[in-house]
Symmetry: C2
Subunit: 197 residues, 2 copies
Amino acid sequence: MSMKYAVLGLLIERRGYGYDLANRLQERLGPGFRAAFGAVYVSLDQLAKEQLVAESRRVQVGRQVKVYYEATEAGVQRFGRWMRESVGREPVRGELYLKLAVARDEDLGTLRDELQRLEHETLAELERCGRALGAEEEGEELRWEDAARWLADVAVVERLQADLRWLRIALRALEWAASTGAVPRAELRRSGLLSPA
Amino acid sequence: MSMKYAVLGLLIERRGYGYDLANRLQERLGPGFRAAFGAVYVSLDQLAKEQLVAESRRVQVGRQVKVYYEATEAGVQRFGRWMRESVGREPVRGELYLKLAVARDEDLGTLRDELQRLEHETLAELERCGRALGAEEEGEELRWEDAARWLADVAVVERLQADLRWLRIALRALEWAASTGAVPRAELRRSGLLSPA
């Protein structure tokens, strides 16, 4: 799992403990990503088992013990290998497309409600992530670390905009199907809702 | 897993056997989706175990036996429930963003090569799926089944275009980082590579 190597990368930058690493990852990736805090602890366990990280010290804070980890030499090697491995493009296989593909006439109303809900959700998400993107000052020269965060925001916003365009065209198609029993594709294509080819 | 209920939906339309169902699903979803043939057989097993489908007959073809399945009444009920369940938006959590977020200076060249590879791959995929989308005749009134297939193509193309826009801006950012050590965000935003806000 790739989260593991991202955690390793953070530890190569500087040592850290579980909660701190989860926060650093979340900060690095921005609001469009959900860094699963639990997954960070699982990653640390796996990394320690594979001796890619090692405990560097324990600090008692009240009743809690913070366990700090640091990357080992083997960890640095493995991280470099991970960086050089090819990334597969994520295949599109949303459950929603499956539902549309096998919907019966009586399911179209349900799907329209669902698409409307997703449209609202996507708009809200777009506003949330777009705010992060818009909060920048012009003319800034970014260090790579901040540039990567900005790129993550851009990726999320581009994705959300694509999803929104699609949701709106799908809603229009569902409305046609529900009212006339057929979908006039050419008309949808001329609607201006889609990206220019 | 959602593939299971998509297979169930196909069986509600009419009975079928494994290979036939995999083909029908692939045809319904178009070239942007990869219907995993193995997953269809796993789905059939699970559906049969849950008595949502039942064997309707066996046909001997040469040495092979085709097992036809049909949906049970319980299957039709369960399918309706699946349709009414909410779909979660897929969170963006690509491995690539993780790599960018934790890259060291010496990793930037590797990532640039990887992004270039992905740009070519995405362009090729866009051509492949765009062809399916462009092969239509104007003025057609689509039945829902064909409209759903068209919507799946549109979803894939919108996604690919968003990915391509992002890849190009990320490549530009990497080039800046490699040559000057900093990324001029405002300049990238003015480049016209991104979606209009």
